[in-house]
Every structure is written in structure tokens, then in C-alpha cells.
Symmetry: C2
Subunit: 607 residues, 2 copies
């Protein structure tokens, strides 16, 4: 048989690929990442070192050790000591359940794909079965795994993806698309029970730039390309996309589309719907291609349904994005506001003005204290900032150190435009009682903006709970929602007897409103660490929804927030989406148990 004759070579090559991938998560071999460009496109790129399978990122990519220590010291004073935390288990100590793919399944998949593209090894299954939420880290570190994918395939082309879906449909396999694996809401979890087995479809090999139209400023990529590779490709040609979510280092273009990702700098890049100009998406019922560089009036547009579909309607295999030239000049400044309300007022005035900054990020007093303490009193820039805002100076300015809020702003464009808009921002800041801090706090932010998930690794290692929540709110509701969430979380924390630090920041400003992001830190509850985090997150989401907000601004739905989605979707909407699911994926192969209503169509052919 033709398939069989390939088997030995397949095995050999596959073994190499598996080793490569698993080593990447285990260290110490270098992870096959491209050099990461400076996210703000200035200065040379450096190659990231290795990464670990139980944590967010590579070793050594986080903050300097003394800075991490300062954060830990502050948390100790603020919240008390966390419990002793066990280190992560070793992979070899894990007793992973055997995969449910039959030899025929594996041989069939290998026959469809290039050599080394199918794996059923335990380690590879493990690293493709979890996102990177706090709950995921707890599961991975403790080895208490709730589910495991049965195999991982690495197609290289849209046609191969289509073949995998056809095969999966024939053989009753669920398929979970997997980009960067950075979901914080269980978006890539392989849920057992819906089909005979689960295959994770990794887009790791689909990373090629496909075209760049320099005149029309459109770039097309395979969807598996990660943030740093995408920006590097564009930067080298004088362009940028400018999409910098917190997960930038590890997340993929396809993942951004699938989850309706938002970057921090919303006013510059625009919403996803403004920069996304086309996709190719493979569904069990065929491949759809949309190229819409310009507005058109040609009936209802099915294109619009795929952003946010989180792998449930099809596998996004290509995307076309609107790019722009790298700006001539970029400028950042920090501003200290006397309190949250004045910062919000300034943010709104700027976002609704004619010359808004592309970045406005306001941290509340808790977050500001954490930032200042984390920066420490050293001799560097942060030391100088601490001097500037020392008590006597603040008193003179009528600042209450317990209420003051730090805002970071950024502008870009021609030198003339930057100067004009920065001048406008200073005027607005002054009008709202703001104190200009110069570049000190922005330099560190630019250097360390993607470091938070790495810091989380260190804190989790040290026994802390680190969770997150986000929503968006209209300007008139921003403060009410923030307050409602704080009250709900503090109440829940009191009930659980957990000391809690809640740092809130406002970002992604638009003329209508902004997003609110909440970082929750507490000493881990040694009795029930997952339950502690779940209880707090659910209390926060309840407060958000009660205040009229949506349960997600940019993290998505995944598995974890499905019940919130259900509570916010009307019956007619549910019918519409269930119908669509039936039309594209009648056997409900694609990412079961996520985002889309299921079980409304005819039962799939499962045995």
C-alpha cells in the first residue's frame, strides 16, 4: 500500500520534529523562534532563549531578577506570605493517558501530510493541550491534567488542512485549531466525549509571508505566523501592522483573527475589522476566500462571521492585513494624575479629540503603587522619577500618593504631527491636574511591555495567584464598572479570607469608551487553588455583566466563558449561529464545546 511504504521515513522525520518541539518547551535547547524585533520597531532584535512547557515563556525573557524581587517584597508586605509552592512536576513523572487514535488513524493522517507532520507522542500532546491561563499553569505544574489531545498534526498548506478536515469527518475525529496556544480562556482545550478522538491542528508550519502590495499597502500571510516574525517581515520592508496584544511574542495572526484580538494601541491600528482585509478559511464544507481591501455593497458579508469564531467555524489559514509605513517619529510620555477620575477625564478628552495619542493607558492607584514599588529606588530612570514625585513635591501639587494614577501615552507620525498632538496632550493633562513625568516610565514600559506574563511565571512559582479579567465600558460607565468589579472581588476575597491586590488599568480608548483590565494577585489558597481563582473571576464577571458590560473585550470566550456567552446571546442569535455551524461543520468536528451553540443539529456519526 502506498501509505504503508512511507511509514518508516515518516517515523524517522517525525521523531526529529517531535524532539524539536518538545525541547522547545523543556529547554535548554534554543526555541525555534525567529529573533524578536523590538516591538516598537526601534533598535536591533535579539534571539529569545528557551521556554518551558509549564509556563508562559522562555527563561530569562522576564524582568531583571532584582525587579522581580522588589515586586515580591512589595506583595509580601501588602498581602502577607504566600504558601510554599511545589515546583512543577517533570514530564517523565506524568502518567499520561494513552491516545485514542488508532494505528489506522495515524497512518491515514501521515499519508495526507508531509513527513514528520503527525505526532502522537505524549510530550507533544501535552504542549498542545493547554492555553496559558492561570488555571492552565496550575494544571500543568501539578500534573493534574483534565484532558489531553490524542494527536497533533502540522499541515503546511490550506489544501493539507482541508484534507485533515475531510479525514476527520470520515473518521469521527474532533479537530482543535492551535496557533500560539496563548489562550487565557481555555480556547484550545481538547474536550473529550464529543467524538471518537481529538486531533489538535497546529499552524506552526504555516508561517510564510505570501504577498506584499506596497502600493495598496496590503500584506498577506499564512495564519500561523507569530507577532515578531510578522513585524520583522514588514519592518524590513518599511512597513508595520502595529498590532501588539500582550501575547504578541507568542500569538499568531490567525489567532488574533479567530479571537478578535485587540492591541494596546487601539487608536493607531484601529479595531481588527479595520485592518483585517481578507482571510482564507477551511471548513469541512469547503474553503472560503475573502479579499475585501475596500468597502463594497454586495449583500450580507459572511466574512464578518469568522473573526471571533475561535476555531469553531473553520480553520483560518491565511489573512490579509492593511499595513502602513513605519512612522517617522514615535514619542512616549508618562503623566501622573491626582486620581482615577481626572485620568479618565483626560483619556476621554484625548480619545475624542482631533489629535489623539495612539496609546493611552491609565493605571489605577493600586496598579500605580505596584509599578512604582516594582521600579525601586535605584539610580536609573525610575529612581529619578521617584525623586520627582517624592512626597513634598506631591504635597505641593496637592497629590495624594494613595490616590494618584499613572498614565502612559504615545504619539507617532511626522515630527510635525507628533509635536502638535503631544502639545495638545500636555494641554489636556494640565487641564485635568496631570503632572508630566517625561519619558522615564515609558522607556521601561516599551522595554518590558510583554514581560508581564513572564513576571506571572515567577509569581506563580513563588506561590501567588495571578488572574486577569477585562471588559469594555462607555466613558460614562468606566468608573462605575471599575468600582463594581472592585466591590464584588473584595467581597469575594473577604468571604474566602484571601488578601487581594486588584490593579486596574484603562486602555484601548476610543471616542465611545475604553477597555478595563483587572489584574488580581493573592497568596494562593493551598486548600483549593483553582477554586480560589475561579471564584474570584466569576464574581468579577458577574459584576461586569450586572453593570451592563460584555464579559470580554479581547480575551474571547473559549471554554471558560461559555456560560457568560450563553447568558448574553438571544435565542434568535443562538439559532442563527447554530444554523451556520450546521451549514459549515455538520458533524461539529471543529473545536467542540467552545463559542458556538452545539448539539442543535443532527447527531454526528460518533460510535
Amino acid at each position: 500500500m502506498l501509505l504503508a511504504s512511507f511509514e518508516p521515513r515518516t517515523r524517522r522525520r517525525y521523531k526529529g520534529a517531535q524532539t524539536r518541539l518538545v525541547e522547545a518547551w523543556q529547554g535548554p535547547a534554543p526555541y525555534p523562534f525567529p529573533p524578536t524585533p523590538d516591538p516598537m520597531h526601534e533598535g536591533p532584535a535579539t534571539a529569545p532563549p528557551d521556554r518551558r512547557w509549564w509556563s508562559w515563556g522562555e527563561v530569562g525573557r522576564g524582568l531583571p531578577a532584582e525587579q522581580v524581587q522588589r515586586v515580591k517584597d512589595y506583595l509580601l508586605v501588602r498581602l502577607g506570605a504566600p504558601p510554599d509552592a511545589a515546583g512543577p512536576v517533570t514530564i517523565s513523572s506524568l502518567r499520561l493517558p494513552p491516545g485514542r487514535l488508532t494505528p489506522e488513524d495515524v497512518a491515514g493522517l501521515r499519508g495526507l501530510l508531509s513527513l514528520g507532520a503527525v505526532s502522537v507522542e505524549s510530550e507533544e500532546r501535552l504542549v498542545h493541550s493547554y492555553g496559558r491561563s492561570y488555571q492552565d499553569l496550575l494544571s500543568l505544574r501539578s500534573g493534574r491534567l483534565h484532558a489531553l489531545t490524542d494527536g497533533v498534526v502540522h499541515p503546511a498548506t490550506a489544501e493539507e488542512v482541508a484534507q485533515v478536515l475531510r479525514f476527520a469527518e470520515e473518521r469521527d475525529l474532533a479537530v482543535v485549531p492551535f496557533g500560539g496556544g496563548t489562550s487565557l480562556v481555555g480556547g484550545v482545550d481538547p474536550l473529550p466525549g464529543t467524538h471518537r478522538a481529538v486531533v489538535t491542528l497546529s499552524l506552526e508550519r504555516m508561517v510564510d509571508p505570501l504577498s506584499l502590495d506596497e502600493v495598496g499597502r496590503l500584506a498577506r500571510f499564512q495564519a500561523g505566523i507569530r507577532g515578531p516574525e510578522l513585524e520583522r517581515y514588514l519592518n524590513e520592508r518599511g512597513f508595520t501592522l502595529g498590532h501588539f496584544p500582550q501575547s504578541f511574542e507568542r500569538s499568531t495572526l490567525g489567532g488574533w483573527v479567530a479571537t478578535r484580538s485587540s492591541g494596546d494601541a487601539l487608536r493607531r491600528e484601529g479595531e481588527l475589522s479595520q485592518w483585517l482585509r481578507g482571510i482564507a478559511v477551511v471548513t469541512p464544507r469547503g474553503t472560503l476566500r475573502f479579499e475585501e481591501p475596500l468597502p463594497e455593497a454586495t449583500g450580507p458579508d459572511p466574512f464578518a462571521l469568522f473573526p471571533g469564531s475561535e476555531g469553531t467555524l473553520g480553520v483560518i489559514v491565511e489573512a490579509t492585513v492593511a499595513v502602513r509605513p513605519r512612522p517617522e517619529e514615535t514619542l512616549y510620555r508618562g503623566t501622573l494624575f491626582p486620581n482615577w477620575e481626572s485620568g479618565v477625564a483626560a483619556g476621554r478628552e484625548l480619545a475624542q479629540g482631533h489629535l489623539p495619542p495612539f496609546l493611552f493607558r491609565l493605571t489605577d492607584s493600586e496598579g500605580t503603587a505596584l509599578t512604582l514599588e516594582g521600579r525601586g529606588p535605584g539610580p536609573g530612570l525610575s529612581g529619578r522619577v521617584r525623586e520627582r514625585i517624592e512626597p513634598r513635591y506631591l504635597e505641593f501639587k496637592h497629590f495624594d500618593p494613595a490616590a494618584m494614577c499613572l498614565a502612559l501615552q504615545g504619539w507617532e507620525g511626522t515630527p510635525e504631527e507628533v509635536s502638535l498632538s503631544e502639545r495638545e496632550a500636555r494641554r489636556v493633562a494640565r487641564g485635568n491636574g496631570g503632572l508630566d513625568l517625561g519619558r522615564a516610565f515609558t522607556d521601561f514600559w516599551r522595554r518590558e511591555r510583554f514581560a508581564f506574563p513572564h513576571l506571572r511565571d515567577e509569581l506563580v512559582e513563588a506561590g501567588w495567584m495571578v488572574e486577569t479579567l477585562e471588559t469594555a465600558a462607555a466613558w460614562s460607565e468606566v468608573t462605575g464598572v471599575a468600582l463594581g468589579v472592585r466591590q464584588a472581588l473584595e467581597e469575594r476575597a473577604r468571604a474566602g479570607r484571601w488578601a487581594l491586590l486588584l490593579a486596574t488599568h484603562l486602555s484601548h480608548v476610543t471616542p465611545s469608551g475604553a477597555s478595563l483590565n483587572f489584574q488580581l494577585i493573592a497568596p494562593r489558597d493551598p486548600e483549593d487553588a483553582p477554586g480560589q481563582a475561579r471564584g474570584l473571576v466569576e464574581a468579577g464577571l458577574e459584576a461586569i455583566v450586572k453593570a451592563g458590560g460584555k464579559f470580554s473585550h479581547h480575551l474571547g470566550v473559549g471554554r471558560d466563558r461559555l456560560r457568560w456567552l450563553r447568558s448574553q446571546r438571544s435565542a434568535v442569535e443562538t439559532t442563527m449561529l447554530a444554523t451556520l455551524k450546521q451549514a459549515l461543520d455538520p458533524q461539529e468536528l471543529l473545536n467542540p464545546g467552545k463559542t458556538l451553540p452545539q448539539g442543535e443539529g443532527p447527531s454526528h456519526g460518533s460510535g
Copy 2:
């Protein structure tokens, strides 16, 4: 019976409403339009006079008579004399087929709605059965009517709309939503044969502003509100939406959403998806409400399916839009470019720059000649412009009068911003050989920008064919597409022995491309006026699609362009949309024969 007891009063009130409506189209009683504000928000509003049932607009709303005469004179020289045209028939001479609504249908509908909201009078049916394409004008003027709705209902609330849809479903009536009735593609035509009868659902009574959030800059309206009323409401409160399609005076907010309308000033207002923040839409399966002032990541978004649905998925009854303060300063200037290519190059440079004008509208040499001739040599501003560009001056500037192209540009914002961006535009114009014309040509454009459909009325009356076509093209393809359309149309015109004037303009510029608009004028073919226009339009659409363009940038699909839609939609897309149609409108009541694939579900209960 309760319904019956209302009958006499219903009759009385209905008679009044019917007279009001029909008079509106017949003149000379004033049309119940609100005073039209100056579309660019400057100066006081004036009340428009009456309007006619067989033409676009109100009497006296067009260009001054001497200007119309100059255009006619120019066309006569350029194209030869048009045939003698018959005047429009009188309504009383028309023998309209009887409506197919039974007395039970009528009584039932009257029982659902407020007094006077149901009409089966011939005149009212007539004015709600056609859009305002050239073909529609031919049909109406000649009295050769291809179809007629069987009755018109005027619900006042979302609940009444829902009741009408339920009733229609029970009694096998097709329902055609009707906003301003300005479709140029047969979008509101009542097509017989799919259901027992057709009812047109007019949104004329659903015109109320519902809310204005001045902090969040969001305004909600009932969907039947027309452009002038909407802008007047916002202007009086210091805001503007800034959406000015050619049909602004007569089209409605709901119609804009249903057809994915574009305004001329695209860089200012953004695409519809950027300013539309919510809708309420009544479907036969329930009412959907979307309020999305901010980005969210909550799964695939069914909201996005309704823009462009052209009444086939539901009746859009409310819409929420992002508004902004009226600009402090607005500035317009005209520029003359030596040829099309240099104008396109400047347009692209500006649209891709940091400080783009909100308006860039480039007319090709044919259109420029028509504009200049239409303006005449008089003593006013236009006369001065003609002086400035008199042959010797142009020769000195190396301008070929047969090649030169007029561009109109506009800027707005703070005085500083306007001055900065206008300076940038002058630099770009100079770099591309442009000649600054000052404000002369922009003043007339601002005064007369909505006059073209009225001029069309005059030309149709005088025996001319006046048709239109549009598409969008990437910057690298703009000139190729324009040329392809010209060649195809000239070839078709030669084959038909029709003298043809084709004026092209480029507008709606974005960083990726622009729209191309084609105005076709020819002496009407007395043998087959509809066939002449259809032949030319189809030849143009063929050329557009052959060049890789979409068949519509902003006019929509309607009945006329359905075959183009079919040719551009993939089988999977068709399945998706047919499925959605089934989910929301299983009996396919809503606007049959338009936009959405039909006849794929179970047959409706028609007798």
C-alpha cells in the same frame, strides 16, 4: 368584533394619510419633509418644495435653469440631439391592476396598526413600488409598470413591525421594507409570484430620535429617519454624523445600513462598519438587538450580517451611530491636475498620508469638461475660474485642456489641524503638477452636491439616457479598471450606434484604494430605451468584474444586480446565507428575489 369596530375611524384617518402621501409626490402641496439643513452644516435650513411621483425630487431643488440649459447645450454639441421625449403620463390615465390583498388581509392589518397606517389605494401603491433608477424613471413616466405592490403599511414601532411580519407569515404575504425609496438597483421592487400578495412596509412613520449620549457620542434613531432630519437633530445639539451619500436628501438611516451605504467623504466618517454601533432588527423569528459601542471578543458576531442585507433578513427598525462634534472649521479647495494619472497619484499620496483630506474627489477629463461647460462663462466665481484656466495660462503650465482633471478636496478640524493638512495637500498637489483653483469650484459643489439626481430629472425629461455604474479598485488598479470600463462602454455604444458621454470620478479614497463612479449620458434610443441602458450597464459591469473588481461599491445588489452577485459568491457562501435566511425567514417573506439566495429551504406555505 373588536377589529371591525375600529373600521370606520380607520378609514377616515387613512384617507387623510393617503392624500398627504400622494399629494407629496404629485405636488403642488408641500411635501411633508422637514426643512433641509445645509448638508455641510453651515447656514440656515430651507424647506424644500414639492416633489413628483415620476422623478427623483422636488420641483425647484435642482440647478438654476440657466445652468441646466448650459448642460443641455453642451450635450447637444457633444452628442447630438436626443429624440423628442414624451412627458410623464398622468396618474389618472394609468390602469393599475387591482391589488391582491383580500378584505380580510386589509382588515387584519388595520387591526394591528394605528389609524391610517394601511393603504391599498392605487396612487400609494404606485409610489411605493419603484426605486429611482433610470429604468424606474422610464417605467414611471411611460406608465409601463412591471409590478405593483398590493398594499402599503406604515407601522410606527418595532412591535408593530413584528406584528405585521407575524401576520404576513400566517397569510402568505411577501413584505418589502421601504425606506426612502431611492434604490438605483431595484431594491424595493415588489416581485409577484412568490407569495399570495406583496405588502410594502414603509418606515415613513418611524423617524424619531431615541437617545443621544453626549458623553459617549452615540445617537440612536428609529430607522426611517432621513438624512436631513438626522443631521438637523444632531446639528442642533452640536454634533454631526457626517454621512452624505448622493441620496442624502431622501434616503434613510435604515436604508443606509441595509445597503452598506458610503458617503462621499469617506476618510472623515469612516466606513459604515466604523460608525454603525448598534441596530434593532425585526425578523419573522424574533427581534434582534445589538448595541456594540466598543470592540468585544464574544464569539462570531451576527450583527455584522445585517448591513447589506437589503431587507431580506429582517426589517431594520433602529440604529445607533457614533457621532462627533461639528468641526470648528471646514475648508474646501479645488485643484486642477494635468491628467488623470497625476490626480490619482496625488489622491493616493494624500489618502495614505498622515493628514488626509476628508474629501478627495477627482473627475476625469470628460467630467471636468462637462463641469466647466455647465458652469458657464458668467461673471461669478465660475467665470473667474474660467479666466484662470484660460488657454494661454494652461499652455504656460503645459496643461492640455482635453486631458486636465478637476479635483475637489476638503479638510476639517481645529483651525490648526485644517491649516496643517491643507498645507500638506498643497505640497502633494504641487508635487504632482496640480494647479490650485481656490474655493471657486468647491463653493458650487457644496451648494449643489445633491443636485445631480435633480439634473437627471431634467435630462430624462429632455430625452436623454442618464445611467450610472460604480465599483472600487485598489490604487494599483484604479486606472486599469477605469480604462477597461471606458473601452467596454464605447464598444457597446458603437455597436448600438449611440453617441455616449462617459464621465468618471474617483472618490471614497482609503489607504488601499478608491471608488470609481461612472456617469453615462446618451441620446435616448427611441426604439428601446430600457434595452439601451441595460446593454450599457451590463457591458460596464462585465468589464468591472473582468478586471477583478466587485460589481458594487455602494449602490447594492437589489433585483438588477442579482446575477452579478451569484457569479461572485462561492457555493459555500451561498449555503451559509441560504441557511441563515431559513433560520430567520423560513417562508422567505422578506423582499423576495433580492440579495439572498432563495428557494433552498422548504417551500413556503403559498397557495
